[in-house]
Amino acid sequence: MTDNCTAIKALTYADHLKLIQKVNGNLAVAVDEKHKLLKAFIEEEEQCRWIALCSSLCASGWHTYKAADSYVEMSMGLYRNFGEVGLLRIGSHAAVLCEGALNNCLSYLNALNKVQSICSKESVLAIERVGGMLLSSYPQATNMLQDYYRQAFKLCTDSNYEAWLSIIELHASVDRHSLVNFLVDSESYENVNWCDALPHYLFSFSFGSKYLATIHAVSDALLDVLGEFRTLLQQHQTNEPESDWLESLKNNAKNFSRVDFHVLVRLSVNFDKPVLLKAFLDSAVGLPLHKKRAMVEWIEYANDLAYRNMLAAIAFVKLESVVSINLLKDLTGEILLADHVDKLQLYIDAWSRLPLAITPLTVDKGDQAFVDGLHVFLPASVSMYNTKQENYNLLRLILNHQLGLIEFNTFSDTEINGNYFLAYQDPKLAEKLFSILESARVDWQLQFRYAGLAHLIATAKRSFLEQLLSEQSLLERQRLVIESKLDALIYIQFVSLDLPDADYEESNRGSRFYSLCHLAIQHIKKIGATVADTKHVFNTLYAELLSLPKANLDAFQFVYYRGQIKFNTLNQHFLLHEQTVTAELKENLDDPMLNPDFLEPINATDIEISELDRKAGGYGESMDISVPELQALDDHAKIKKTQAALQTNDNLVGMQKERQQPSVFYYDEWDYQISGYRKNWCTLYEMHELELDADYVKEVLVKQPRLAASVKKQLQQLVPALRRKVYGMNDGEELDLDKVIETLVDRRSGAVPSENIYIQKLRKDRDVSVLFLLDMSASTDDVCQSFMQENTNELRIIDLEKQSIIFIAEALQTLGDQYAICGFSGYGRDQVDFYVCKDFDDKYDFQVKAKIGGIKPCRSTRMGPAIRHSISKLRKTASHTQVLIILSDGYPQDFDYGFDRTDRTYGLQDSTKALKEAARFNIQSFCLTVDPSGQDYLREMCPDKQYMVMQEMSQLPYELSKIYKGLTA
């Protein structure tokens, strides 16, 4: 190329023109014309070099005359902007590019042409320098070079283009792929400060590119917290994927409001470690971010913890550890409904005659409490105030308001349902107005009736009034500018919250609306006001409101503690309840005026039928009854059936049906790595439905009658454990005074005295509950080695477990101990299956036997939650002696039992902890394993003498009965 170039330069102007003429005649004409213009400004030698460049461009390859054409076209402008040196250098650079690919050259010239009048010489020089470097590094990457020139000249007027070029140089020194990605990204990102980005690219390309992506995604949201964001960037530059907080920030930003996002970024500055920051950003949704002081203290605790135990700190920040949840609750005063649900359920039972179940509000149900006749929906947590007591009071008030709606007969007026408001011209306005007035009436009635609640309600009214006024612009509301329906609703709600008169401007007190509103509301603000009074007030005010201008009523917010009244879901639920309760009340009051026939217990089915009839009459045809309505009736029938079954205890079929759905339990799990419990980590499903094998038990007993008899004999030796006083014994701990006196009297009267004058404490009854917990994991499907050697028939571990349990169960029938037989398996922490073959209350009947026969091996051994659930079942028995016997075949293991699947320590530690929990509740535990390596880990897991490794499998039934005897005697 150099020789060729020298040769080209050696030619005369005419020679070059001829060469160009040969390639493209038009171009030769254009060159000649441009030359005539240029020769007035540049020396002859430069003219010669110029035409040589044109000729060179033209001769570079196929269609390269186009590049020459562009250059010629631009030449006068280039000379004016960059002088003759610039003109010739640009031509040279174009020629070099053209040698590689025509498009590279065209891209360069076209991009330059667009900005040549505003681009500085230095900028062009720098772009050419980096372009040259890219060309030499990646000569084949034509698209990349074209992108480069296009973007470079677009940015050349930007003050921070040099930083951009530096980033390009950094990329070029590494690999083409990252450079291509960067060019694609940077083209799509606008208004990026490349000077800010450069240090991050200098740190690492991945961090730099994540920075770029984050800035692009959340630039608007970051505007007000740029300072904090820069601090974060300085503190937490990292390449570790587990510390990739920028990615988390970018991905989670959409989950926060703008205000919350700002708070989030401001709080993030408090983290010492990027890995904690990432954990925080990933799990910050739902955190009480607005409680700054509490959050900062909580973060400080996490920082301290990180120096001692990083895993614990991560679990802490992710709100997975019990310590974290408790600390946050303490700091914020937050209370969780789940923590109080038992107590509040009792409270409901005391307060209301309806069997209402507390249900936490979910996202789809909104965030305001309501009652539907079967359930009371309450917020899952309350953290409005700073102390737990205040928040608990608020939760109780929310509940009491819903109970008040029932107590003060909001739903007794059958006319008011979902359709009631449709008859009004503005149904939405009507429904909202009625809800405000009815809620206000119920509040006042509660205040009149219950002095304690009156205090709570008054406090809440003041508090919410302050909050609403501050949100709604106090001055405007005080001026009482009722310009729309929305204004009127807001004002009426203020009145319903007992806004003091003094808070209004003097001039407004005489206004028509003010007077009317206050006059009307007095009807429901009196002792004994009913829903009929609310209707009256509602009709008066509605007529007044209708004349006001329209407004978007969706903006109206009901007071939080009053929740909402769902008129469309009320219907059958309350009607059914009402009839039942009325009947009960009449029975209870024992009114002599009542006809005895009327006092017959109301049959749920009768109610259903009468309700159906009523609905059929109301809607035309019975077929018109909607599915939800039928469902409501069905729900009620279920409740009634369950109650009847529980009361009469003879509807076992009904009970069985109730049990078909597995009950769900949540259990904490001990993580030795964080030295704490992970809160509600495992989900356990208690199942009563198992596969049945009706013949299994019978076959086992027929095959091995001697073994069965032997186990039975061994257990029958157990003596009763409960000591009771027996009078008139010939020996004992204390004297039976009556007998002593009788003896003395007999002796003196000459009769033969009795020697039975003592009281002895004897063991008369047994008071024992035992739960057998069988490992049903897949590994129990293995064949027992010792049996393989001894017998021709193969026997699996699960069979041996089952057989042992059968022998014990048969023997226990005569002993009278309470016992349960359960099994566990599962897959992962979200699916721990706990099968109940026989519960403590169940009889050892055909069904239980079939369930035991049907036990099959499946999946994993997550022992901890199964033990914890067994503990909870045992504790409910209230027996003096409570025993848990675990039959297992190996290590506790599950695919997510610890972060490392191969790490056995996690499962062992959790099981150990669970057994310690059992000991804390005075539950004796015993682990029996058929795993030959059991000695290694059972020594750690169980206290002394509370485990056994079976060496001889055939001895399992004997050993089990011995253990049983030892534990319960």
Partner: protein, 279 residues
């Protein structure tokens, strides 16, 4: 346990026709079984009736002369027939016979009230059989005597069906010797009146205490067999009369007394704080 000679008329608010029934049963010498939850007023009712029959408007000359008109025995699992009938005692070098409360009542013609009869040993419940049918006699084995009951004698027993188990249920042969009057807690209005009268609190506080009683009784199936008794509500009222705040009085007299379950206690505490204004 006895009713003093000159005791004031015990306060009792009749809830239904129990007073008339008792009077008629007494007239016809029919033994009476009182059934009802703890603290609903069974013992008070017997005291009231006893006063009415032996000292009050339904008394007679003969009955007014009975020095101790009511013999009350609180039955327990160690109570034997000897405890009811009588026993020999050693006094110095002699053995002397001591009549039991049942023998005293049979002889003197007073009312014998066996409280919580099912708690007593079987031999003692069988002992009363001959007293509760047409024979109206009490055999005293140790003396070789058969006591004929005085014409004014009446046997009254009580038990609480709420917390009896199968083992301690009354045998049909015993149960079917009595007419049974069932008691329950008074309704809210009546209970408020009783609380006012017994404790001296004002009507408003008494109404709230009665309301509290009604609410707590709805929790009967949760950890305690009986709801809160009227007696406990009266105790709370008495504490309030003495100047203790209503919430604290209910705390010690009601909440802690009815259950040891912490959830139940908390729930009752919440009901109390909803009903009574904070002090």
């Amino acid at each position: 346990m006895t009713l003093p000679k000159t005791v004031a008329m015990p306060y009792y608010l009749p809830l239904a026709d129990e007073v008339e029934l008792f009077l008629l049963a007494y007239k016809q010498k029919l033994p009476i079984l009182l059934k009802g939850p703890t603290g609903c007023g069974k013992t008070r009712f017997v005291e009231y009736m006893c006063h009415l029959l032996y000292r009050g408007e339904h008394s007679s000359e003969a009955r007014r002369l009975v020095p101790i008109p009511l013999q009350t025995v609180a039955c327990h699992e160690d109570l034997s027939a000897t405890d009811l009938v009588g026993r020999f005692l050693l006094q110095g070098a002699d053995t002397t016979w001591q009549d039991g409360p049942l023998s005293i009542a049979v002889k003197a013609g007073s009312i014998c009230y066996l409280d919580e009869i099912v708690e007593a040993r079987k031999d003692s419940t069988v002992l009363i059989h001959s007293l509760t049918d047409h024979r109206r006699i009490l055999p005293v084995d140790k003396l070789g005597l058969i006591l004929e009951a005085h014409e004014n004698f009446l046997l009254v027993i009580s038990y609480n069906p709420g917390y009896q188990n199968v083992l301690k249920d009354l045998k049909p042969s015993t149960r079917q010797r009595f007419i049974a009057i069932e008691f329950d807690y008074p309704n809210e209005v009546q209970e408020a009146e009783i609380i006012t009268r017994e404790s001296g609190v004002d009507a408003a506080v008494a109404a709230n205490l009665a309301l509290l009683g009604t609410r707590i009784r709805r929790l009967e199936s949760h950890g305690f067999d009986d709801g809160v008794s009227t007696r406990l509500l009266v105790y709370a009222g008495k504490l309030i009369t003495e100047g203790i705040s209503a919430s604290r009085a209910c705390d010690v007299a009601v909440t802690a007394a009815v259950s040891d379950d912490s959830d139940v206690q908390s729930a009752i505490g919440d009901v109390v704080s909803s009903i009574f204004a904070p002090s």
